[in-house]
């Protein structure tokens, strides 16, 4: 996941999960992560509800376009050229005046009792942790 301070809104952070190409925005790094996890839940539940596999096409589901190559290159530059931090440090990014952060998220799917037509993996995102 790529997190960047918005150039046009410096008090806001833009979060982009490149693998699923789902985005959101928040007041801080932690808030932006929370928001993009919620956006992933919404997108996945919508796709599952229509009988589609949200993880098809390498995680892009039935409709989502892949993230732009430039975004992946930006993420790569951050990973290779940035400083490795802990999860606790992630919460203090705003105080340290950083403008971009790369992090990894884990999304777990689980089946609900009243699962829709889609049967292969899941009916809803029940847990997602940064």
């Amino acid at each position: 996941m790529l997190l960047e301070r918005c150039e046009d809104l410096p008090d806001q952070w833009f979060a982009q999960c490149l693998a699923f190409n789902v985005v959101s925005q928040g007041d801080s790094v932690a808030h932006a992560i929370e928001m993009v996890l919620d956006a992933i839940r919404i997108v996945f539940e919508n796709e599952i509800g229509q009988g589609h596999d949200p993880l098809a096409r390498n995680g892009l589901g039935p409709w989502r376009k892949p993230a732009k190559k430039a975004e992946w290159e930006r993420l790569e530059r951050l990973i290779l050229g940035g400083k490795l931090g802990t999860r606790a440090e992630l919460a203090r990014v705003d105080e340290r005046g950083l403008d971009a952060v790369a992090t990894q998220i884990e999304v777990r799917l689980a089946t609900r009792a009243r699962a829709p037509k889609f049967k292969r993996a899941a009916a809803a995102v029940v847990h997602a942790a940064a």
Partner: protein, 73 residues
């Protein structure tokens, strides 16, 4: 250039996009057309300012010309 959520919602409707609040009660609103949903954060309500990149990705998701969309904001 950023835009307020309420203006984005109004412009999106003119492109046939249906805007509904998230059923789970989060601060996202679902922008939906032809089955596809693109959530947009309204964490400060209708006045939430949405950054330019977010708006461009919304347009990209629904195949809308960002310049045409901007004219309606």
């Amino acid at each position: 250039m950023p835009a307020r959520f309420r203006d984005i919602k109004r412009a999106a409707k003119k492109f046939g996009i249906v805007v509904t609040p998230d059923r789970a009660g989060s601060s996202h609103f679902n922008f939906t057309r032809d089955g596809r949903t693109f959530p947009i954060s309204a964490h400060h309500g209708e006045k939430t300012e949405i950054n330019d990149k977010y708006i461009r990705l919304l347009c990209d998701a629904f195949g809308i010309d960002p310049t045409e969309f901007r004219k309606l904001l």
